[in-house]
């Protein structure tokens, strides 16, 4: 219980710091930086769109890890965190999709273009929506946790696929991060990199709080039993 209290304090700190950093970077992205040569102001979406996309892909990797951990250990905690990471990642990838399509409207003239990356991320969205559909359809705890953990392992293929989609198929989607470095002006990097951390911190705090809530709800259910 004591350790939980301590973690709770740390998480609150991460959360508040994340939000402050996000506001700061938001200021940087929208007001501090000037318009870009070819894209004008619309490129600013990139500072919000890409970090949510990156963090959501990292988050789904977390879902994979917790799912595998569940299959090995069969503990309630792994199942709960697999769900929490999937849930928050799904929200973040939804945000990334919406902002991406707004940007596409400015840059390519259409909200939706069936670009390989767009398609791959949409499929990924369906995988994790399917994950929750599967969970909601099974009542028994073990069967639900086990089936959805196995499904998360299968569904994870779409994550590297979403990441590599621009390389596998010919895509219009700009590639920002190369193996050789970033394709950005230094001033933009100063806003972009902290923004990733800010979103990551917000992500972590959400996962922890949601997981904590689900854990205590589970314990209460057991005590009432």
């Amino acid at each position: 219980m004591e350790i939980e209290k301590k973690t709770q304090g740390i998480i609150m700190l991460i959360s508040v710091a994340g939000f402050l950093l996000a506001i700061l970077c938001g200021y940087g992205a929208l007001i501090y930086l000037g318009p870009e040569k070819t894209l004008g102001d619309s490129y600013r979406i990139f500072f919000f769109h890409t970090p949510s996309a990156i963090v959501s892909l990292l988050g789904f990797t977390g879902t994979l890890i917790f799912s595998v951990r569940y299959l090995i250990r069969r503990d309630v905690e792994s199942d709960i965190y697999a769900v929490s990471t999937a849930k928050v990642s799904l929200v973040f990838v939804t945000i990334a999709l919406i902002m991406g399509s707004i940007w596409a409207k400015f840059a390519w003239g259409e909200y939706w273009n069936w670009d390989p990356r767009e398609t791959a991320v949409l499929i990924l969205w369906f995988v994790y929506a399917g994950y929750f559909a599967l969970r909601s359809a099974i009542d028994e705890f073990d069967a639900r946790a086990r089936s959805s953990a196995i499904f998360a392992v299968f569904g994870y293929v779409t994550v590297p696929l979403a990441y590599l989609s621009t390389r596998i198929w010919a895509s219009l989607h700009p590639v920002i991060i190369h193996t050789t470095g970033m394709n950005l002006e230094p001033r933009m990097v100063m806003v972009f990199v902290p923004m990733i951390f800010a979103v990551l911190m917000i992500y972590i705090s959400f996962v922890w709080i949601d997981g904590r809530l689900k854990k205590i709800e589970y314990q209460l259910m057991e005590v009432v039993e």
Partner: protein
């Protein structure tokens, strides 16, 4: 070595606890009845012993091998007759036996299967699909299926349910011949009379808990059973 050693076995399905803290030892060559009403956890126990389900906690050892490292070698020594007959209705009696015999790696399966069918009096119907069989004939074939690989431990899960008098008699003969051959027999039932008819030991399972074990004989089983159940409900 014991045939079965169960220690502190727990099985939970979500919030429902099917078995709690069950411990039981069965010597090789003994015949045990597991007695309990429907929903007492008999089938769950059988499924764990036969390697179809995994325990949530505790340990089950069959012929010295823990269920966590249950090998195909151990499964080969177990024969299970479940209340679901585990037969393919659209295959013939012959095909069913050959299929399972091959899975169990029985040598000279064709001769064994023919012997088996003759012993069960099904040889005349060997090439008919199981779908066309009567309940009693299906039961006989299910017994043949369970014994095709001459297992050392025979598990009978509610084998008498829905049997007519004749088939029931055949079953009793079969069990006593198994006992004569020195096989270990595990038998689940909710019927008090069947215990002494088929087995020499009894274990009483009630709401997932093992209330007591004893030899058959002495104090009437009915009194013993009621005493245990009353004790359990007052605690």
């Amino acid at each position: 070595m014991k045939a079965i050693e169960i220690s502190n076995l727990v099985k939970r399905y979500g919030n429902f606890t099917a078995l709690r803290d069950v411990s039981l030892e069965v010597n090789i060559g003994d015949s045990w009845a597991i007695l309990g009403p429907n929903g007492a956890g008999k089938t769950t126990l059988i499924r764990i012993i036969s390697g179809q389900a995994k325990p949530t906690g505790g340990e089950v050892k069959v012929f010295g091998v823990s269920s966590n490292e249950f090998t195909e070698e151990i499964k080969r020594r177990i024969g299970i007759l479940s209340h679901n007959h585990l037969l393919y209705e659209d295959l013939t009696a012959w095909e069913n036996l050959i299929f399972y015999g091959r899975l169990y790696g029985v040598e000279g399966i064709e001769d064994v299967a023919e012997d088996m069918l003759r012993k069960m009096g099904l040889i005349g119907r060997a090439d008919d699909p199981v779908r066309t069989f009567s309940r009693g004939m299906k039961q006989k074939l299910a017994i043949a299926r369970a014994l095709i690989h001459s297992p050392d431990l025979v598990i009978l899960d509610e084998p008498t349910s829905g049997l007519d008098v004749r088939s029931r008699k055949d079953l009793a003969d079969m069990v006593s011949s198994l006992k004569r051959d020195g096989k270990t027999v595990l038998f689940t039932t909710h019927n008090l009379e069947e215990v002494s008819e088929f087995c020499s030991y009894v274990a009483i399972l009630h709401r997932g808990r093992l209330l007591g074990t004893r030899r058959v004989g002495g104090e009437p089983l009915e009194d013993y059973y009621l005493r245990l159940v009353e004790d359990a409900s007052t605690h």
